[in-house]
Amino acid sequence: MRLLTRMEEILLISIWRLGDNAYGITIREEVDRVTGEEWPLGAVYPYLSRLHKGGYVRTITSRSTPERGGRHKILYRLTGAGQEALAEARQVNQRTWDGVSVVAFRKPA
């Protein structure tokens, strides 16, 4: 199984965190919060598309609502593969950082 990219990882965690309310707008807000910068509205969709095609997420089409101009909402959920990939990403992260002291990055005084 291939490794997730950083952005894919952030998105998958956001979807997991948002639970039942994971869709375009909330996901982007979560990404903004995590990364600390403002992403364009459309930024998340290419990644969502890739995750969907890779089988990491599934989509649920909900009823249309008036505040969406009669358009339906696409909700995202993690699949089993998505969860496994996240678990592996976490392990990789831990192994990557294992034994690295934050002190090592301090500038010498």
Binding site: Y23, G24, I25, P40, L41, G42, Y45, L48, S49, H52, T59, S64, P66, E67, R68, G69, G70, R71, H72, K73, I74
Partner: protein, 875 residues
């Protein structure tokens, strides 16, 4: 309501375009929700701004994407195109050269057409300027002309409200013009009304257009005339003397008249000068001079014409009633009444004179445009032919492209791109050709265009349009045909539709050779007709015959001149005539004779000559005698006629002698019938002609020189003239040269045809050459096998050429009937023609066949010489 609250539709649409996803990830709904939330929270304006900010943020990425990908594809296409051109240098040369020649041809014609269409459009008021015309019943049908009564012009402005200005322009005056030491005959002098400057755009470089022609004796000349008479000095205030009698002072200098003006002149004098010359009368019944009017905007032309008809009709009738003598003549003469009552005035737009007037340039424009289109079409066909023929070589490339995902659209685009690229190369080449050949074109077409007009926006646009048109037309077939290949079949090595393709290619070759043969027959017929006209027996001996215009007071010295000239042994005869020998134009619809049926109407030509006319000209008498000095009554009282006159009288030549005859105010008897002779272009039939002897009408002296001693006898004429008429420079012209000059137009047409035909043949041969070499290449294996099995080189050459010969023969079968109808139609415009020459048809066909054979056999011989081992080794 719902939409009003939502985000701008355009923004949504753009976002949709930019994203380019096929699946729905809810983006549109999310965007709408985001927008509404923002609008509810911070107002619609803020939301809109935010919305557009999002769109513009998406734009750069999108554009980058588009450019990167299409740029890569473009580069790829260009590289493939250039590789293809380079790999097949021979084909590419044929293709580009053929197209370039075809396009250069089309460009030249475009230039010519542009020049023709530009006639008279330089006037600021061109749209509201008209020339008056009138038509009436005549024995031959409706007769239309643009001569107007002298006195009509000034009436128009006062009596017809739609007419803003009117100016009369005399027919060109031919005067002896002297200023200081310099004296020339000038024949482009017009007497005009001063309004000419307000109506037409003929700008004055010096002088005031409002007053320049107001005083009698004022004169406006062109820049060139100023240079001719005064060199660099300022002409204003200088004086001229016309015909040694009338003094003029220069009050204005005109910018030179553009060559594309139908109204052309070197000098302008006030209109009343015509009265001084005695060329004016008040009668509204006579028609003498052109008149131009400027209408107010949005006037109804037909209504103005009707008003003029009524105005002239009323005034003329009033004039007739006031004059009892005229009244009785009017009542007794039905021809006169008919002429008066059928008179109808019309307005012809100035800008239409050139196109639809007597020169009818529009016909030539159509003809040449069609010709240009043909040549261009042939070049395009070559291109299509070659590209399609090469499709087999490129089928694998296309199959592969399709396999890796190319859509039909992009393959068609590639081929269009390639053909447009080739067309652009050809276009550039053709532009270079046009610039190089420009002087030759000017000489050929008799125009004085400058390269300057090449650089006008219109023309450059024309080049681009022709190039793109050629590219698209030429690329269409391969683009649409090649992109339809099914990849599996192509890669398997089976080519779909090649059979159909071959028929298409053959029909193309047939088509272009038909056109070439057609053009060859046309040039042959034109030059045959022109030669026929030039060598036709005119009915008199036109060699060693000269005529000398006698201007102004010169005719009064004619008798002395004649007597003195005849003293020279080298001068064989002298007579006088009223009109130049190539254009006897006077005519009368009211000729009358003994026993004429009043219901019948005939037009009889009229002219006036001196004693010795038939002898000097070499015209035979069919019956009766010539004018005789011993018969005093011959002057103004007797007629000589041509053979046509007894015919319309219903008599034979001998019995017409002695019959009473009257026309043009002359009354008397017929004393002689002359053999028919041509008195105008032999294009027109010989019509009934009556001749009187009237010394007051002599305008030209005719002198027959001695054959074999032209120079000496001409010197005698000059010496005598100088002695008797020292105040007039001598002018003389040869009859035969005058006659030849009348066919200049046809000769020019003939040489234009020649150029086109040569081009068409070259292009067709280039096309055939390319195709033949392709066929030879395609059949290398077949040829190899044939040779292995014992075929001779000769047999193979015949095999390859024979096929093309069949097509060219088929082309002849198409071209002949077409040429027959065209040539017959053209020859029908001539009264005399040698008829259709079948030999020409066979000659053109054989010529095309030989050319085709030479073209093909070059390739065929090469193909037949290849060692079969080379072509078969990889099987």
């Amino acid at each position: 309501m719902k939409n009003a609250a939502g985000p701008p539709r355009l923004a949504l649409w753009l976002l949709d375009r930019f994203s380019g996803w096929e699946d729905d990830y809810g983006a549109a709904g999310d965007f709408e929700e985001y927008y509404r939330a923002l609008a509810a929270e911070r107002g619609t304006r803020h939301a809109r701004r935010a919305c557009w900010k999002q769109v513009s943020a998406a734009l750069p990425g999108y554009l980058k994407n588009v450019i990167i990908w299409s740029d890569a594809m473009m580069k790829h296409y260009f590289r493939v195109a250039f590789r293809n051109l380079w790999k097949h240098k021979g084909y590419s040369f044929v293709n580009i050269a053929g197209l370039a020649v075809g396009m250069a041809c089309a460009l030249f014609i475009l230039l010519w057409v542009q020049d023709e269409l530009s006639y008279d459009r330089f006037h600021a008021n061109a749209g509201t300027l008209y020339r008056l015309e009138q038509e009436r019943d005549a024995p031959q049908g409706r007769f239309r002309h643009f001569s107007m009564p002298y006195s009509l012009g000034p009436l128009l402005k006062t009596d017809i409200p739609e007419i803003q200005e009117a100016t009369r322009t005399s027919v060109p005056l031919n005067l002896l013009v002297r200023s200081g030491e310099k004296a020339f005959f000038e024949n482009k002098i017009l007497a005009v009304d001063p309004q000419i400057f307000q109506m037409f755009t003929f700008p004055l470089l010096k002088g005031d257009p409002a007053t320049a022609l107001n005083q009698p004796g004022s004169l406006v000349i062109t820049e060139d005339m100023g240079k001719k008479y005064f060199g660099g000095a300022d002409p204003i205030g200088r004086t001229f003397v016309f015909n040694n009698a009338h003094a003029f002072t220069v009050t204005g200098v005109l910018k030179n008249i553009p060559p594309n003006s139908t109204l052309s002149f070197d000098m302008l004098v006030p209109f009343d000068f015509l009265k001084t010359l005695g060329q004016y009368n008040d009668s509204l019944l006579n028609n003498n001079i052109p008149t131009f009017v400027r209408l107010r905007a949005r006037s109804d032309i037909a209504a103005v014409g009707a008003k003029i008809t009524r105005l002239v009709g009323d005034r003329t009738l009033a004039g007739i009633r006031a004059n009892p003598a005229l009244m009785s003549q009017y009542q007794s003469n039905p021809e006169l009444r008919r002429r008066f009552e059928s008179r109808n005035f019309l307005l012809l737009p100035l800008v239409d004179i050139r196109l639809f007037g007597p020169d009818t340039a529009i016909k030539n424009i159509y003809l040449c445009s069609i010709l240009a289109l043909f040549v261009l079409l042939i070049a395009c066909i070559n291109f299509m032919n070659l590209t399609t023929a090469r499709s087999a070589n490129r089928a694998k490339e296309i199959g592969l492209r399709k396999v890796v995902g190319a859509q039909r659209k992009s393959i068609a685009g590639q081929f269009y791109g390639e053909s447009i690229l080739t067309a652009l190369l050809a276009g550039t080449t053709s532009l270079i050709l046009v610039i190089l050949l420009f002087p030759g074109f000017n000489a050929l077409s008799g125009k004085s265009m400058t390269l300057h007009s090449l650089l006008s926006g219109k023309f450059l646009f024309g080049i681009l349009a022709v190039t793109l048109f050629t590219g698209i037309v030429a690329g269409s077939y391969p683009a649409l045909f090649l992109s339809s290949f099914r990849p599996v079949k192509v890669l398997q090595g089976r080519l779909s539709g090649v059979g159909k393709n071959a028929i298409f290619r053959k029909s193309m070759v047939v088509f272009q050779f038909s056109l070439s043969v057609l053009l060859l027959i046309c040039i042959g017929s034109v030059s045959r007709q022109v030669n026929y006209l030039k060598e036709k027996d005119l009915g008199y001996d036109k060699e060693q015959l000269i005529y000398l215009p006698m201007r102004d007071q010169a005719p009064s010295s004619y008798a002395v001149l004649k007597e003195q000239l005849l003293r020279s042994p080298r001068i064989l005869g002298v007579t006088a005539i009223r009109q130049p020998p190539t254009s006897i134009t006077g005519s009368d619809d009211m000729a009358d004779w003994d026993g004429k049926d009043p219901a019948q109407r005939f037009t009889v030509r009229f002219t006036s000559v001196d004693f010795d006319y038939p002898d000097t000209m070499g015209i035979q008498m069919v019956a009766g005698r010539s004018f005789s000095r011993t018969m005093a009554s011959d002057i103004q009282r007797t007629f000589m006629v041509n053979e046509e006159v007894p015919k319309i009288m219903g008599l034979d030549a001998a019995s017409a002698i002695g019959k009473r005859f009257s026309f043009r105010g002359y009354q008397g008897t017929i004393i002689g019938v002359m053999r028919n002779f041509h008195y105008q272009s032999a294009r027109y039939p010989i019509e009934p002609l009556g001749i009187v002897l009237d010394p007051s009408q002599f305008r030209f002296a005719v002198v027959r020189l001695k054959a074999g001693a032209i120079t000496e006898s001409l010197a005698d004429v000059k010496e005598t003239w100088r002695r008797i008429l020292p105040q007039y420079p001598i002018e003389y012209r040869f009859f035969d040269e005058d006659f030849d000059r009348m066919y200049k137009g046809y000769e020019r047409m003939g040489s234009l045809f020649k150029v086109f035909a040569v081009m068409a043949v070259i292009i067709a041969c280039l096309g055939l050459f390319g195709l033949a070499s392709f066929t030879a290449e395609q059949r290398t294996k077949e040829i190899g096998v044939r040779k292995v099995l014992g075929a001779s080189s000769r047999g193979i050459v015949l095999l390859l050429s024979g096929e093309f010969a069949k097509w060219v023969l088929a082309a002849n079968v198409i071209a002949w009937p077409a040429a027959y109808f065209l040539v017959r139609k053209w020859l029908q415009t001539f009264a005399y023609s040698p008829g259709i020459a079948w030999g020409l048809f066979i000659l053109a066909g054989a010529g095309a066949l030989i050319l085709a054979f030479l073209t093909v056999s070059f390739q065929a011989v090469r193909a037949s010489r290849i060692n079969p081992a080379d072509t078969l080794k990889y099987e």
